[in-house]
Symmetry: C2
Subunit: 397 residues, 2 copies
């Protein structure tokens, strides 16, 4: 058995030897483990001629193990970590890529859709926990004001309802969805097609800084990796597989965003599409999906997205952490919980002022919260009980 | 056997005694014929108490036969005619209303959806012929600029492809669809909820004048009848049943236009919906249909509407008049046919100028038309042959 450290190094090296998603490499890792798989490849023993050739070509550019070690050192200095299968942080949903088969796949990117070998992560949250209850919001870079408006609203609303908004960090819809989520104070995840140390595009640098502080930047590629054109499409399968559902806001015909959406459909994830004016080139891709994919669902706003996400929940419960008792509260009750001090009691008047609610509403909701054993009356005031005290995932140390 | 004249009078009188669509009246006419059905009702012999009561109430307002005779006289003076089942002009598709059952029908208008007893017609075309290849384009009165643009374009395109555009003559989408069709020189049909002599709304008076000249104004109600509120919803079933498919352009939630659309779905007509911005109240009804009715189809423009209309064509060929050899021509060739004089020859130069096409194109298309035996060369000019001479249905004398 190899140590975790050896596995990490091997997986990083393998990702450098062949682009992520390469099925033959993934199979070898399944059979031999990453360390032996790497050895075999470096010894020129890949079973497929194509893979042997590409490994040989890459090998001429440098020593895979040395390059991986260097990347790991660089990651350490950046506080970027590598997550691999078996780690608590490994999001189990990406393994569903094993089942992904794109019908009539002609291009390499449609054939090579294996799960990631490793994921680089930058930011304060455990990856698996944040992705557990996550939605992809994707769309056009050249979005219209309409699309930006809708994506920002959705990002905000989803984060406000404690869904993690996942997108690709691009201009346009991606950035709007991330921003909306940030504005609601929720964690948001940008899945990049380059190293987490040099997120692309540079124009979104301030956004990436905010995401790295309060959400996650993630990538299959090591620090320093460049955002090569094909990588965006390779990356999209992780957005589709890592989330519980995908919402397409605006997309040109046959664009990257429609590709992600079709991946989500092929993975049988709830796939939602926001329509737009038929006169807008930026809605052509959205309408194309709605017309061509019977499994896609037209949605006009947050409520319908939540409904679709709830629907799968019923049939295929996704493994989740311990359920938070505050999950089922309505907005007013949650506002009250959030307005309560972590320690000590609070008066109803003060609570009403903090929560921005009428005293009558606060009293009604407090008796509900008492029944749920989330708060307790103490003398003239109310006390938050410990099980309600943690409505958001803990900040990682 | 009663004469056609007696039948017409009885059907007009019956429509006055009970609002169009009343199933019990329609059944009586099926069983007894209109003349005996009218006699029975006027003698207080209606089998249903409800119908007896309403006939009695109406009877106190006047003599049904005298009122019908007066309406017929008024129609004659207006050049408005009555069409009844058995007439060549009777559109067979409206009889499909016999099969229309609205699920969970709670309101009267959802229950009383029988076929019309008679249809008043004003305009130069035979009703059945014009409706044979017709599409309903319906939508909101308070349409947006976007909706108006789309409806006008669709109306134009459909008429240009020799589809009759049918709508309700209302402000907004209806008027835009009619106008688009008129601009393309096609006949358009306004199905009214009042007499064909006083089309409503008055603000569309100029539009109605143009429709009466080059298309048709039709109604179940006799000349002079007022556009009472419930009549719009009663009328909608005729728009849905009389056409081969329905396109909804913009609609508020649960509006008259969505009602027509749901009627079309219940009749299993191709039902097409144009999406719009989710931020627009005028697209809420359209998105509602797309989400709730699996049989509805999202369309983004003319080509997709034609494709849907073509699709049914394949499965259920609709009886048509003798095929016109000009049907298969492309736009340039048709422009040339239309630019040719009814008699005598024309020079290529003159023809090119009239058709607005380059001489080279005209020469190329003329050889095609010669091959199709639609035109012939005579000396220096070209002659239109008789089978091409009638590209549109004949004007009624």
């Amino acid at each position: 058995m190899s140590t975790r450290e050896e596995s990490v190094l091997a997986r990083v090296a393998l990702t450098w030897l062949a682009e992520p998603g390469t099925r033959s490499v993934h199979q070898l890792v399944d059979e031999l483990g990453p360390v032996s798989a790497l050895e075999l490849l470096l010894d020129g023993g890949a079973p497929q001629q194509e893979l042997r050739d590409s490994v040989a070509a890459r090998g001429r550019a440098g020593d895979a193990r040395a390059i991986a070690a260097e990347a790991l050192g660089r990651g350490d200095r950046l506080a970027a970590r590598v997550v691999i299968p078996g780690d608590d942080e490994w999001p189990p949903t990406v393994e569903h890529l094993r089942t992904l088969v794109i019908p009539d796949a002609r291009s390499r990117v449609d054939r090579e859709t294996a799960a990631p070998l490793c994921i680089w992560v930058r930011g304060p949250w455990p990856l698996a926990e944040v992705m557990e209850r996550s939605v992809a919001v994707v769309g056009a870079r050249a979005a219209t004001a309409y699309g930006i408006h809708v994506a920002t609203d959705l990002g905000y609303g989803l984060a406000d309802r404690e869904w993690t908004v996942v997108s690709g960090g691009a201009f346009g819809i991606d950035a709007a969805a991330h921003r909306g989520a940030l504005n609601a104070g929720g964690p948001t995840v940008a899945v990049l097609a380059c190293g987490v140390d040099r997120p692309y595009p540079m124009g979104n640098a301030a956004l990436f800084d905010r995401i790295a502080e309060t959400g996650l930047l993630v990538s299959e590629w090591p620090p320093g990796a460049e955002p090569l054109r094909p990588r965006f499409l390779i990356r999209n399968r992780v957005i589709a597989a890592g989330t519980r559902g995908t919402v397409l806001v605006e997309a040109a015909a046959r664009s990257g965003a429609t590709q992600t959406t079709r991946r989500a459909i092929a993975l049988r994830r709830p796939t939602m599409v926001v329509p737009g004016p038929v006169t807008s080139a930026m809605s052509v891709g959205a309408h194309e999906i709605l017309r061509e994919e019977p499994a896609s669902r037209l949605v006009t706003g947050l409520d319908q997205v939540l409904e679709e996400l709830g629907r799968i929940g019923e049939f295929a419960p996704v493994p989740r952490g311990p359920e938070r008792p505050t999950d089922t509260l309505d907005d007013d009750a949650r506002a009250i919980v959030e307005a309560m001090p972590g320690r000590g009691t609070v008066d109803v008047e003060v609570l009403a002022a903090r929560a921005g609610l009428p005293i009558r509403t606060v009293l009604r909701k407090l008796s509900l919260l008492e029944e749920l054993v989330l708060v307790a009356r103490r003398g003239q005031g109310y006390l938050l009980l410990s099980q309600a005290a943690n409505p958001k995932p803990p900040r990682r140390e």
